[in-house]
């Protein structure tokens, strides 16, 4: 086995693990999926899909970190952050086959497991067992997006900040502050101030 083939195999193993979280399926099912997948590698800060392009792929992050944002009046509003095992794509563009209004950009060097629109349709046709996986992945995406939406509307800036820091301590380390601030809909100045509060006090975020 060549060096690249070994890396490829290791990456696929990892993907199998990620997907198992949603629905148990056998190695054999997974083998059947393999031919439909593409592995795509990107440097950091690369736009994987630009505004105005039609999204060709649904991606699962194998390694690295990416964000999705909306360019709105010279500002970038970050609406999703995705690390290993999470799905990220421009959904509306992918499903309705229309130009994307969102941009997906890598934050770190990133490896995606990607499946094209046509391959995904074929996959569902050929392996009926995949329906469940697809349904549960999309359900998870919906619940996450609903929670974020609700938090934005309902919770205070401080609550949003503390809850995120408590639940995603790793992301606070990895994601540039301005993107996190935008994602949580907090002004960058306010974000810095709140971050300061959590330092040296053993992170008082239990409330």
């Amino acid at each position: 086995m060549s060096h690249n083939a070994a890396i490829y195999q290791a990456a696929l193993e990892k993907l199998h693990q990620y997907l198992q979280v949603y629905a148990p399926f056998t190695k054999n099912d997974f083998r059947q999926m393999e031919p439909f997948l593409e592995i795509r590698e990107f440097d950091k800060k690369v736009k994987v899909i630009h505004e105005g392009e039609v999204e060709r792929y649904l991606n699962v992050v194998g390694l690295g970190l990416a964000r999705k944002y909306l360019p709105v009046r010279n500002k970038e509003i970050t609406i999703q952050l995705a690390s290993e095992g999470h799905m990220i794509h421009s959904e509306l563009s992918f499903h309705y086959r229309v130009p994307s209004r969102a941009v997906v950009e890598t934050i770190e060097p990133t490896v995606f497991f990607s499946i094209s629109y046509d391959s995904l349709e074929q996959l569902y046709e050929q392996i009926p067992g995949i329906e469940r996986l697809g349904r549960l992945m999309i359900t998870d995406l919906f619940i996450k997006s609903d929670t974020r939406y609700f938090n934005q509307l309902r919770k205070s800036t401080r609550e949003r900040f503390l809850e995120y820091v408590r639940n995603h301590p790793d992301m606070v380390q990895r994601v540039p502050q301005k993107y996190l601030a935008s994602f949580l809909n907090i002004k960058p100045e306010t974000f810095s101030r709140l971050k300061h509060l959590t330092k040296g006090k053993g992170v008082n975020v239990k409330g």
Binding site: L70, V72, I77, I79, E91, L92, H95, Y96, R101, A102, Y124, P128, E131, R132, G134, R135, I138, T139, L141, F142, I143, S145, D146, T147, Y149, F150, L153, R154
Partner: protein
């Protein structure tokens, strides 16, 4: 059209179910009737049903301080539920309340899971409906960010002209996230120049 025919028509927009598949689903439905102004789900309760509106009008909302924030209004031929709670089995963030007397065709979570077991096509339907939830939410958020007040008003009224007469104005204003005065002003503007809103 009967209730089941209405539902079948709605489903055909997603997936072609055989008569047998549809029977699997139909067997698991219950009909629920409500007066106007009845709460179907309260904040903190787990949503037990996914419901199809056969007749009537319902809304989903929460309180921000003392203000009601409406996040969804559903009419005939649409689904209503505290959907994230229904799907996750966790307590709802939202209230769901009828605005008019309602007839709903509802399925419980356990029965829906059972239907998925019995028919892969119903599982596909589940995937597609959930995908639609995601897309609808994303589109709504996108519009709130991209469109100004007037554009949001015109778009909503263009898509749902009948709701202008059925839903109390303050609720529509809340749903579109604008002040009632602004809503009223935009509405009067449309009345005077009926074609102003058409693209």
């Amino acid at each position: 059209m009967t209730m089941l025919e209405m539902l079948r028509q709605y489903i055909s927009g997603y997936v072609a179910l055989t008569g047998e598949d549809f029977a699997v689903l139909a067997d698991k439905l219950i009909v629920r009737e409500f007066e106007r102004r009845q709460l179907l789900v309260r904040v903190g309760e787990v949503e037990q049903y996914l419901s199809f509106v056969v007749k009537g009008l319902a809304r989903m909302y929460f309180y921000k301080g003392k203000t009601e924030m409406i996040t969804n209004i559903a009419k005939e031929g649409e689904l209503i539920a505290a959907s994230a709670s229904f799907l996750s089995g966790k307590p709802s963030y939202y209230y769901v309340e009828t605005l008019e007397p309602c007839t709903l065709l509802s399925i419980s979570r356990a029965n829906l899971e059972q239907a998925y077991e019995e028919s892969p096509r119903i599982e596909k339907l589940g995937r597609l409906v959930t995908t639609y939830f995601v897309l609808q939410k994303e589109e709504w958020e996108l519009e709130c960010m991209r469109l100004d007040t007037r554009e949001r008003f015109l778009r909503f009224i263009g898509n749902n002209p009948e709701l202008l007469t059925r839903v109390p104005q303050k609720y529509l204003a809340s749903y579109l996230n604008m002040k009632p005065e602004t809503f009223s002003r935009l509405k009067n503007h449309i009345k005077k120049r009926p074609f102003a809103g058409r693209p």
